[in-house]
Amino acid sequence: MQRTQLSLAVLAAVAAFTLAGCGEEKKPAPVVAAPPAAPAPVVVKLGHVGPLTGGIAHLGKDNENGARLAVDEANAKGLKLGGKSVKLELLTEDDQADPKVGTTVAQKLVDAKVAGVVGHLNSGVTIPASSIYKQAGIPMISGSATNPQLTEQGFNNVFRVVGRDDQQGPAIASYLQSEVKPKTVAVIDDATAYGEGLANEVEKTLKAAGVKVLPREKGSDKTADFKAILTKIKGKKPDAVFYGGMDATGGPLLKQGRELGIKAVFAFGDGACTDKMKELAGDAAEGLLCSQAGLPVQAANKQFLDAYKAKFKIDPILYAPFTYDAANLLIEAMKKADSADPAKYLPELAKSSYDGASGHIEFDAKGDRKDAEMTIFTMKGGKIEPIAIIKGGKTTKFEDFIKAAAPAAPAAPAAEAPKAAAEPAKPAEPAKK
C-alpha cells in the first residue's frame, strides 16, 4: 500500500513538472511570431468551434469550412492592421456538441489568445461557452445557434448572424397559416433545445392565429422510426405537420409519413431545410415547406457558393454562409478599428453594417441580427427553391423580392438574380401535369 502511495506521489509530481515544462515550451511560441526579423506578418488568431465528431459532425465541418473560406480569402487579399501586415490563422476546435467539452475548448481558445471566435454550432453548447468568452472579453459570433437565451444573457461580446427561433418560428408558421390555411396542425419536435424551441414558437404563432394545434409529439435526435407517432397523428387528420429538428431525422419522418398515406403539408425549420431531404425521403420530399433564417444561399451570393465549391469540392450544406459572414464581420470590424485587440474592435463589431453571403447584416442592442430576413422554401424537382421572403412580419413573393432588390443590390446578388428568378418558373410547368 505504501508503495502505491509513493508511486502515486511521484506520478503526480512528475505530471505536474512535465505540464509546467510544457507550459514553458509553449510560451515562447507567440513571441517567435512577433519579432520584426523580416516584414514577417503578425499572426492574428481566430477561433472556430463546432462538433467535428458525433451525429451532426457534418454540419460542424460545414460551419468550419465557411469560416475557413473567409479567413483564407482575407489572407489572400492581404490585411493590414495598425500599419503592419497581418496573417490570420484559424484555430479550429471540436466541441463534440457536448456542453462540457464546449467550455473546455472555449477556455483553450481563450488561452491561445484568439482575437475572436466563430461558433459554436449548438445553442446548448454556445450558451455555457459564451460566459467564458465574456470573462475574457473576446467577441463571439455564432452562425447557427438560434436559441433566444443566448443573447438574452446580457453579454456585450455575444452576437449571432442567424435569426432567432422566435423570429423564424413565427415566419414559417404565419406562412403556413396564410398559404395552406390549415384547420388542424400537428407539431413534432426532436426533444433538443433547438427542435423544441422552434416548435414552441411555431405552436404559439399558430394558436394565436386560431389554428388548432394537436398535443405535441416528440422523437429524439437519433430517432429513425417515427411510424408510431405518425400513425397516431394520421388518426387526427391534420392539414399540416410541422417538425422541429434536423434533416437526419426529418428526412425519415417525411418518408414514413407519406408511406403511411398522410396527405398533410409537411413543414420544417432550417435544420431540415437542405437538399439532403430529397436524398433521405426520396419523392416524398417533393412539395415540403421549410424556412431558413436569412436570405437563401441561392439568391444572395453566387461568389460565395462558387468559392466554397472550388475550395472544398462540395456544396455548402446549411450554415456555412452564416459562419462565412461571421468570420468576415470579425475581420471587417478589425479593419475598421485598425486593430485586432478585442477591446478596440468590439465597438466596431457592434456597429457593423455589412453585406454578406446571407444578406445585409446589422446587430441590435442584444447582438441579434436586426430585421433578420426569413426565407420560405419548397422542394421542387429535388432541390429546395426559395418561394417567399418574410421580413418584419411582411411576406414578399421571392420573385418580387428579387425584382425589387435587383437594381439596388450589389454586383453579386444582381448577377444571380435573373437566374434564380428564372429557375422557379421552369419546374413549375412540369408540375402542372
Binding site: 459532425a57 398535443p215 408510431a228 407517432i229 400513425t231 397516431k232 403511411l260
Partner: protein
C-alpha cells in the same frame, strides 16, 4: 381500429429488427455468458457496407431486389469477418478474467469500429438510394409496405433457420453442450474455441442482415446508428430471457409493439400529461416490471447464481 392495426404493423416491423439483433446478443450470451456490447456496431457496419454496394449498383439496370441481395451478400461476410476478429482479439484472451473486463473491451471495440466507419464512410448521414419502389398493401384500412413484409418474413425465416441449426445439427449440439458446461464439452471432444468462434460469426451475420434491413427501411445509415439500436435489442434479449433464442424473438417483437402502442396511446390515456416523449420510458418500465416479477426474463429458465 385501422389506427390500432397500423400501430401493430409498425411495432411488428420494428420488433422484427430488434429481434434479429437481439438473437446475436442472446447466442453469444447463451454460450459464454458474455454481453457483446459491440454487437450494435456490427449492425452499423452491415448497413454501411450494404450502402456502398447498393450505391455502386443503383445506377445499373439490375432489378432492385437483386441489388439489395448483393448488398446483403457483401455485408454478411464483411461483418462475419469483423465478428470473428472481435472474438479472437478482444474476448478470447479474457475468458477467465473478471466479469467486467470483457465489457470494457467491448466498449473499446465499439469506439474503434465507430471511428473506423467514420473514416471510411464520412461523418454525414448516408442516404440509401431509394431504389425499391413503394408498394402499399391495405389490410383493414391499415397500410403495410412491401419492405415491411420483407423484413417480417426475413426475420421469421432467420429465426427458423437458427432454431434448426441449434437443435438439428451436430454443430448445434456442440453449441448447446458448450453452453451447458465448457469443460465437459471439451472433454467430449468438442473444439470449444471453434464453437465459440462460430457463434460469433453467426451472430455477426444476423447483425449484417439487420443492418441492411434498417438501412433500406429507413433509408439512412450513420456511423453512430449502432449504439441506440444495440441498446434496444439488448433490452429485448433480456426481456425475453437472455440466452434463449425464442426469448430473443419474443422480446424483440414485444418491445417493438410496446414502443409503438406506448407512443400511440399513452398520450390520449393520460390526457397528454405523458406523450410520445416518454416512448423510451414505457419500454424500460415494461422491461423493469417484467424483470422484477420474472428476474430472468419471460422465457429464461436459468436462474443461476451469477454475480
Amino acid at each position: 381500429m385501422d389506427i390500432f392495426l397500423q400501430q401493430i404493423i409498425n411495432g411488428l416491423t420494428l420488433g422484427s429488427v430488434y429481434a434479429i439483433v437481439a438473437l446475436g446478443y442472446t447466442m453469444v450470451y447463451g454460450i459464454i455468458q458474455l454481453i457483446n456490447f459491440a454487437h450494435g456496431e456490427l449492425v452499423m457496419l452491415g448497413a454501411m457496407v450494404a450502402f456502398s454496394v447498393i450505391g455502386a449498383l443503383a445506377g445499373t439496370s439490375l432489378p432492385p431486389v437483386l441489388i439489395v441481395l448483393a448488398g446483403v451478400l457483401a455485408a454478411v461476410p464483411a461483418c462475419m469477418l469483423v465478428g470473428f476478429a472481435m472474438e479472437r482479439i478482444a474476448y478470447r484472451p479474457l475468458r477467465n478474467a473478471p466479469r467486467l473486463a470483457p465489457l470494457i473491451t467491448a466498449i473499446g471495440i465499439s469506439i474503434i469500429l465507430q471511428h473506423v466507419a467514420l473514416l471510411v464512410w464520412s461523418r454525414s448521414p448516408l442516404a440509401f438510394p431509394q431504389i425499391i419502389p413503394l408498394v402499399r398493401y391495405y389490410i383493414g384500412g391499415a397500410i403495410i409496405t412491401g419492405v415491411q413484409i420483407a423484413i417480417i418474413l426475413t426475420s421469421v425465416l432467420m429465426m427458423a433457420a437458427l432454431t434448426l441449426l441449434v437443435y438439428r445439427t451436430k454443430l448445434g449440439i456442440a453449441m448447446r453442450a458448450t453452453s451447458q458446461n465448457p469443460q465437459v464439452a471439451g472433454l467430449m471432444g468438442i473444439d470449444i474455441n471453434r464453437v465459440i468462434s462460430f457463434t460469433f460469426i453467426v451472430g455477426a451475420g444476423l447483425a449484417a442482415v439487420a443492418g441492411v434491413m434498417v438501412g433500406t427501411y429507413y433509408g439512412i445509415a450513420h456511423y453512430s446508428m449502432g449504439s441506440l439500436l444495440g441498446m434496444k435489442a439488448f433490452s429485448a434479449a433480456v426481456l425475453g430471457g437472455i440466452g434463449n433464442l425464442a426469448g430473443a424473438m419474443l422480446g424483440g417483437i414485444l418491445l417493438g409493439i410496446v414502443e409503438a402502442l406506448g407512443a400511440g396511446y399513452i398520450g390520449d390515456l393520460t390526457n397528454n400529461v405523458f406523450g410520445s416523449n416518454y416512448q423510451d420510458v414505457f419500454a424500460f418500465i415494461v422491461l423493469i416490471a417484467v424483470l422484477v416479477f420474472r428476474p430472468s426474463g419471460l422465457l429464461g429458465e436459468r436462474v443461476g447464481d451469477r454475480a
